[in-house]
Symmetry: C2
Subunit: 156 residues, 2 copies
DNA sequence: AACAATTCAATCGTACACAATATAAAAAGC
DNA sequence: GCTTTTTATATTGTGTACGATTGAATTGTT
């Protein structure tokens, strides 16, 4: 058995772990988003749901879950709060009554205009060029997809 | 009114947002970690606290919070669960009674040996070279630090 | 047609995460 | 010395996250 390398346990060191970098960056993003989203009356996961709906209206809960990698246990109460806020409506599909279709209300549609102000503010806060952010984004997304494949999550 | 440009609202598209890449990657990491950490009887945030303590024992709650970017509202109940599990002990500092010092129990020390198996498994799941992961890690950490600076979070 | 297997959403229990507030100890100012 | 301010932790309330289970609806198979 060989002796330990010079920096014993370096793999267990917090700052060496990519997962912690990602975990803490996620929180950091949330902190930057919060004041911006407060103006829209949304939390960050709620904002993600709205992004999905602004891309395509009238989606089943399951599809929202597939796009955001969230399950019904998370989405059901979140969607109820969005409904409470008057931004979406929930209705069982008539073709397949197992599904609940999520649609935007007029108010939910309108909110998109205010939301356009958000991404530029984030870009500014990151103090990065668009090219840099795009590169990191694609690397992280690729890493995420490999991890999800490993954990048996079916992608989009 | 002009027609929409080819990629109207591209900034609002889910997959174009780096924050979503980070957010979803963080969840993906959690999914990969879960079965590994279940064997240690830890959740991921609990594992992070243990990493801090394995690096240096007998730290105040505040310092743990600074390293992990978490506040007492998160840490207090988490630390109580770790105490319940017999991995740590909590004791008010005698010099400064505002501080609660967190120390490893013998059992908490021992757990480090089992924990050494975790990082290699993560590395394998990522299907990346160490060099690639290191590069992404440092980019994300740098981004996180800029975002935190923007949000007024005092670094380490 | 009948029934087993699957799918989808909801529910429940546990565990973060953070804002806001409370409390108590220590430090600073006068 | 005594008040004010700051600091460290704890508490409470709201909102995610996710595993496990349930129940209703659909599909697949015989």
């Amino acid at each position: 058995m060989a002796r330990k390398p010079p920096s014993a346990d370096s793999l267990l060191q917090l700052d060496n772990q990519i997962c912690f970098a990602v975990y803490s960056a996620s929180h950091a993003f949330n902190r930057v988003y919060k004041p911006l989203l407060d103006r829209l009356g949304l939390t960050y996961p709620q904002y993600l749901v709205m992004l999905v709906l602004w891309e395509r209206d009238g989606v089943a809960v399951k599809e929202i879950g597939e796009r955001l990698y969230l399950d019904s246990g998370t989405l059901t109460p979140l969607l109820k709060r969005l409904e409470q806020a008057g931004l979406i409506k929930r209705a069982r599909s008539t073709e397949d009554e197992r599904q609940v279709l999520i649609g935007l209300t007029a108010q939910g549609q309108t909110l998109k205009d205010k939301a356009r102000a958000v991404p530029p503010s984030i870009l500014a806060a990151s103090q990065c060029s668009v090219a840099e952010l795009t590169a990191i984004r694609d690397e992280i997304a690729a890493l995420r997809d490999r991890l999800n494949a490993m954990a048996g999550v079916n992608g989009r």
